[in-house]
Amino acid sequence: MEIIQSVLNGLLLGGLYAVIGIGMSLIFGVMGLTNLAHGDLIIVGAFVCMTLTAQLVGSVWAAIVITVVIMAAIGFFIQGFLINRVLDKGAEPALLTTFGVSICLSNTLLLFFGADARSISSSFATANAFSTNLFSVSSVYLLDFFIAICVIAVLHCILQYTYFGRSVRAASDNIHAAELMGVDTKKVFSYAMALAMVSAAIAGLLVGMTFIFYPSTGTQYLIIAFGVVVIGGMGSLLGTLLGGIILGLAQLLGAYFWGSGYQLLAGYLVLLLILTVKPEGLLSIASRK
């Protein structure tokens, strides 16, 4: 009956994967950019949060708030000073710019923190929320899933019910029409990137509590983020949750059937399969347009 445990863990892990992918999905939906630095920015979030929790002992919430603010500022800066300038030149320069940012970030982390494995210590990292004879639920996985639902719900509300959300949706539907209606699209892009980095900070915090991380693990999370976004459909928030769950299930069932060495491979294969069969994703905005 270990399979029940695998399925359950896969589902809960899917929530974490959804948070990892949601920022990338937002950025792709808004400006058609694939942010290759997304994984590294998540790890930057994890490192910032780790440093702050070590410094500000006792006030974890203050550390989290400061991390979120720092990450939002980094996102605003990257978008405003780098990506906005190359967006008009086509897709490739913007893609390669984010690639350069990604390499700079991971090597800067390596320089400051060394190559050692790190983690954000928390009281419930190893505890179980509840357990029965058949399965047990790890509390940190449950927290990941719960926060994932919250992040998706909040993001949905921001996009649907605020002026900023409306301008983001307008810019992603038709950038010229949005500009004619008086939307400063470059500014909207900068705020959208800041919002995506808030989600990356939360993802970094969760990743840091759930797993160990190194300066070089950004790549791994970029691929997870991309997988989630591709499976679910670029730009669709609900699709992100679905994509996360499918990827999480694929990995843990792959590990269950073939052994833990093949956990990542199973995820990659499902991803390549969906890229081949249905490249626009399961719940894509593009297919609805």
Binding site: T34, L82, R85, V86, K89, A91, E92, P93, L95, L96, T97, F99, G100, V101, I103, C104, N107, T108, L110, L111, T219, I223, F226, G227, V230, G259, G261, Y262, L264, L265, Y268, L269, L271, L272, L275, T276, P279
Partner: protein, 328 residues
């Protein structure tokens, strides 16, 4: 108008100059290992091999419009083919290198079917994921000793001079190949596609085939170069062989030197290897510097150093321009 004429004049002149220039340069490169000390020869080996990698990435990214982030899969396959052929079957090194190229082409052909359905960014990430999947697969595959890897013992017998000639053949061969390709019908098709894909398709260019040819050629040469690189490294291990660092190097070399030019990757490779060598004790810092330079170049001069030189002086060494017959 003036620019066009000067460009043309320079280009005609250079065409005649080329022959007088290249013979001494190649002769100098041939006798170089006897004239300088071993460290410089080893740096030249690196330059030649990275030049070949840069040329192949440029053929895809700069000419065919295929921004591949998964070129490391061919390096890994080349390295592993060399290791398996020489360590398990005890065949000569040259067989290992060639098998590396052939295996890469076959693998490229197999994955081209699904991967060419992906466009733009999807292609970039699709190739990257294929390479990551290979890394995981090789680290679990007992035939290639899982994560343990191979020591490539044939390379212990190679002298620096041997290594230099292998690298020189690969590097100069790659330049020659790309230059010939671009001046062939394929090159003309590539440039037409780059300028306007639908117009090119209308006049009868088979876009899929042209792109596939570029992908296969670059897989072959990158595979052989991968084998040659692992001759100089002498130890192959899955996560290093299939690591994204290889493609990072190629992208930086091409962007800094000049994307879409033949000279760009040469210049970029010299710059990359020298900077890495200079900051050898601080590997992180050299990557940060390269990243910052690459971003600045994308922001300010999107065609790199050689692109800027072309635009200002119309100066080209490996001209891929064609001129209509003057008598017409």
């Amino acid at each position: 108008m003036f620019r066009v004429i000067t460009t043309r004049f320079l280009s005609d002149q250079l065409f005649k100059l080329n022959a007088c220039l290249f013979v001494p340069i190649i002769a100098a490169l041939c006798i170089l290992p006897f004239g300088v000390n071993e460290n410089i020869v080893m740096i030249m080996v690196q330059i030649f091999l990275y030049m070949a990698l840069g040329q192949m990435w440029n053929l895809l990214g700069g000419y065919a419009g295929l921004v591949s982030l998964g070129q490391q899969m061919f390096i890994g396959l080349g390295g592993y083919a060399l290791a398996v052929i020489t360590e398990i079957y005890h065949l000569p090194m040259i067989v290992g290198l060639l098998v590396g190229g052939i295996v890469s082409v076959i693998f490229a052909l197999v994955i081209s079917q699904p991967i060419f359905k992906m466009r733009g960014v999807y292609f970039s990430i699709g190739t990257w994921i294929a390479a990551e999947a290979l890394a995981v697969y090789f680290s679990n595959w007992t035939y290639v000793r899982s994560g343990q890897g191979f020591n490539i013992t044939v390379s212990y017998d190679l002298t620096t001079t041997d290594m230099y000639y292998i690298a020189a053949i690969v590097g100069l061969g790659a330049i020659g190949l790309v230059h010939t390709l671009l001046r062939s019908k394929l090159g003309l098709a590539l440039m037409a596609m780059r300028d306007n894909e639908s117009a090119a398709e209308t006049i009868g260019i088979e876009i899929y085939n042209t792109k596939l040819k570029c992908f296969l050629i670059s897989a072959f040469v990158t595979g052989i170069t991968g084998g040659a690189l692992y001759l100089s490294i002498a130890y192959v291990q899955p996560y290093a062989a299939f690591g994204i660092d290889w493609t990072v190097a190629m992208v930086f070399i091409v962007i800094i030197g000049g994307i879409g030019t033949v000279e760009g990757p040469i210049l970029g490779a010299v710059f990359y290897v020298l900077l890495k060598q200079y900051l050898y004790d601080y590997p992180g810092i050299s990557m940060i510097i390269l990243g910052i330079i690459a971003i600045i170049i994308i922001l300010l001069a999107s065609r790199g150093i050689m692109g800027a030189v072309h635009d200002y002086w119309g100066f080209e060494i490996f001209s891929t321009r064609r001129w209509v017959n003057k008598s017409r």
